[in-house]
């Protein structure tokens, strides 16, 4: 079963991750971080990758650009980007791909920006890395990009250093840099988690606007189901290193199939409806080295059956464009 089969996107997907498995450490001490992760991002599509800490969502996003720590190894699976398997691309060719075809923005923009370079020079550098343009044309692009991400007075601000910007403005600079070479896929790893809610609203609006303007596909990694609901068409839910559910955002949020997704949606505090007592999922996420043998969610699951503790359920298509890794949900749907 491939991730693409679960999606209703038209045409071949831009990014297709199939059976991706990543482990940290070597030999007996190796710990599997993610296992058999499959999903796809269509051209121009916005896909949300959601999960709590330890779910493996960041490891998944970092593997796509092969930015994993040296102690991590990709043990299996394919990452097809525009038909090319990024797992087998030689390490030397990756820098060329990064930024030009796939760009990434991170949670803390300060650590991703060079503190000793003006933001304008950094964006200019990003352009020069991948394209041969005259300095004048490059400068024009820098100003256009800064204006495009809503930085007022771009001609003046291009000469400022990262520390002279606020958190929200730095994230705008990061987005401008990511867009410098018109990538086809933008991976955003918790882009607004460090920001205040009114600034988050600004950055999310900017990302929506950019998507409309440029048609860039977005893979948005977040722990916040509200952000995913407002930004994405498709959602991939991860738990303890595996994909437990995937489908269109509208379907999953209305009627989740996997008991973890259901529990997660029910435990979100809400601004509307009854201000009732919060639903709680008992227990904790298992540590990556101490995952149970069967379904990783079984110890916390309210509907588990004997089989759940013995066997790992695979991600199975249950409805058009939807899938879940759950024996109980599977038998209900059948």
């Amino acid at each position: 079963m491939s991730g693409a089969a679960l999606h209703a996107t038209s045409g071949a997907p831009l990014l297709q991750v199939e059976g991706l498995t990543v482990a940290f450490g070597r030999g007996d001490a190796a710990v599997t971080a993610i296992e058999d992760v499959s999903f796809a991002v269509g051209t121009g599509e916005a896909v949300g990758l959601v999960g709590e800490s330890g779910s493996g969502k960041s490891v998944t996003s970092l593997s796509i650009l092969r930015l994993l720590a040296p102690s991590a190894t990709i043990r299996g699976g394919r990452i097809l980007f525009a038909g090319r398997d990024l797992v087998t691309v030689p390490r030397s060719e990756m820098p060329d791909l990064r930024g030009r075809d796939v760009a990434m923005i991170f949670q803390e923009p300060m650590s991703s920006l060079n503190p000793l370079m003006t933001v304008g020079d950094q964006i200019g550098e990003a352009i020069a890395l991948h394209e041969q343009v005259s300095p004048q044309a490059r400068e024009a692009r820098v100003l256009e990009l800064l204006g495009g991400v809503g930085i007022p007075d771009a001609a003046q601000r291009r000469r400022a250093y990262p520390h002279q910007f606020s958190g929200g403005m730095r994230q705008r600079v990061m987005i401008a840099m990511a867009l410098a070479c018109r990538p086809r896929l933008l991976i955003a790893d918790e882009p607004t988690t460090a920001l205040d809610v009114t600034i988050q609203a600004q950055v999310l609006e900017l990302m929506r606007d950019i998507r409309e303007r440029t048609g860039t596909a977005i893979l948005l990694i977040s722990h916040d189901l509200g952000v995913i609901a407002e930004m994405c068409e498709t959602v991939v839910v991860m738990y303890s290193g595996r994909v437990v559910e995937t489908g269109r955002v509208a379907d999953v949020f209305r009627d989740a199939l996997h008991p973890y997704t259901r529990g997660l949606l029910a435990s979100i505090p809400r601004l509307d409806g009854e201000s009732r007592r919060l639903h709680q999922i008992p227990g904790n996420v298992p540590a990556p080295g101490a995952r149970p043998r069967g379904c990783a969610f079984a110890p916390r699951c309210p509907v588990k059956v004997a089989r759940c503790e013995a066997e790992r359920p695979a991600l199975t298509p249950l409805a058009p464009g939807r899938g879940a890794a759950c024996f109980v949900a599977g038998s209900e749907a059948a």
Binding site: D196, V197, T198, Q200, A201, G226, I268, P269, R270
Partner: protein, 333 residues
């Protein structure tokens, strides 16, 4: 302390200015930062008051002022009818028995070299509430059971626990002395969603059973809605709106409250709603704009807002708001 005071806690025009030294030989001058500015409110026994606002709004500083962990620059705090400023060193220590705190960081707020037993026994011992010998272990075991932890793990060190479990230990420490007020400074913002719900429910259960008042500090408006009786919204050290939860959430009277509520992403795909996106950044607390501090970002701002600082006024909805143009949902959508 007298048991019949009408308010448990009352703050009168409390404020804090950090820095602002002119500089001495070998000592650098520092900028004046007005973190909290003239905050007044009162809390009833048993009530939960939530303080919400974005980073730099002064909510954490306010918490520390109320517990006198830092000295206020102006204003007074009364606890159970007593002026905290008038208390001696030892009387202030006795006050801490009745007013405890829960911290944001479940990893940093527990001493790494002390076992759970040592951490939980400490408040009991320092106030002479500990029973001698083995009975103390039973007291600690009871505290752990109250927060849903098995007593069998009391001799372990904090690093052997997950974030949610550590936050339970932090709560157990806070309720150990049977306080009448608990100040919880962003107690769930470092936790995952599913764990967050556990901790919020635990706090509510304990409050129901023990009857303490809770000052709940948060930046997450959705969490606050599930726990608070009243809500206080802060912006740049000032209270912009305060009132019963229902009034504030259903019909915010200050444009900032309205924008804040509107900015929260909601897990309802496709729900049609017009979002209010405020422009610009929160100004630095070292350069608070004159007049209404919110005027630089407010879509309703006019000349008067730039000149005259609005006072908190009673609103028909039951809350108070500090805005010249306050009214139900003041920003037209």
């Amino acid at each position: 302390m007298s048991p019949s005071a009408p308010f448990l806690l009352r703050a009168e025009g409390i404020g804090k200015v950090f820095g602002g030294s002119r500089g001495l030989p070998f000592v650098a001058a520092s900028a004046r930062v007005r973190a909290v500015d003239g905050v007044s409110f009162a809390m009833q026994p048993g009530e939960t008051l939530a303080v919400v606002g974005e980073s730099g709004c002064g909510k954490s500083t306010l918490a520390r002022l109320l517990l006198r962990l830092i000295e206020p620059s102006e204003g007074r705090v009364h606890f159970d009818g007593q002026d905290l400023e008038a208390l001696s060193q030892e009387a202030l220590r006795q006050f801490r028995r009745h007013a405890q705190m829960v911290f944001q960081d479940p990893f940093g707020s527990l001493s790494p070299r002390r076992t759970v037993f040592q951490t939980l026994a400490e408040p009991l011992q320092t106030f002479g509430l500990a029973q001698p010998g083995k009975a103390l272990r039973e007291q600690v075991a009871d505290l752990m059971r109250q927060v849903g932890l098995p007593a069998s793990v009391m001799d372990r060190y904090p690093r052997q626990f997950s974030g949610g479990q550590r936050q339970r230990i932090g709560i157990a420490r806070a309720i150990a002395t049977g306080p009448r007020l608990i100040v919880a400074d962003e107690p769930v913002s470092a936790l995952d969603v599913s764990i967050q719900a556990q901790i919020v429910n635990l706090l509510q259960d304990l409050q129901e059973r023990n009857g303490f008042s809770c000052l709940f500090i948060a930046h997450d408006l959705a969490v606050v809605r599930h726990i608070a009786d009243r809500v206080m919204v802060m912006y740049l050290g000032r209270v912009v709106e305060i009132g019963p939860r229902r009034a504030v959430y259903e019909a915010p009277h200050h444009p900032y409250t309205q924008a804040l509520l509107s900015a929260v992403p909601r897990p309802d795909p496709g729900a049609a709603r017009r979002r209010i996106v405020l422009g610009g950044d929160v100004p630095s607390p070292s350069r608070i704009p004159p007049g209404c501090a919110f005027h630089t970002r407010c879509p309703l701002a006019r000349d008067i807002c730039r000149q005259e600082r609005p006072a908190l006024r009673e609103m028909p909805g039951g809350q108070q708001a500090a805005c010249h143009f306050a009214g139900p949902n003041p920003i037209p959508v």
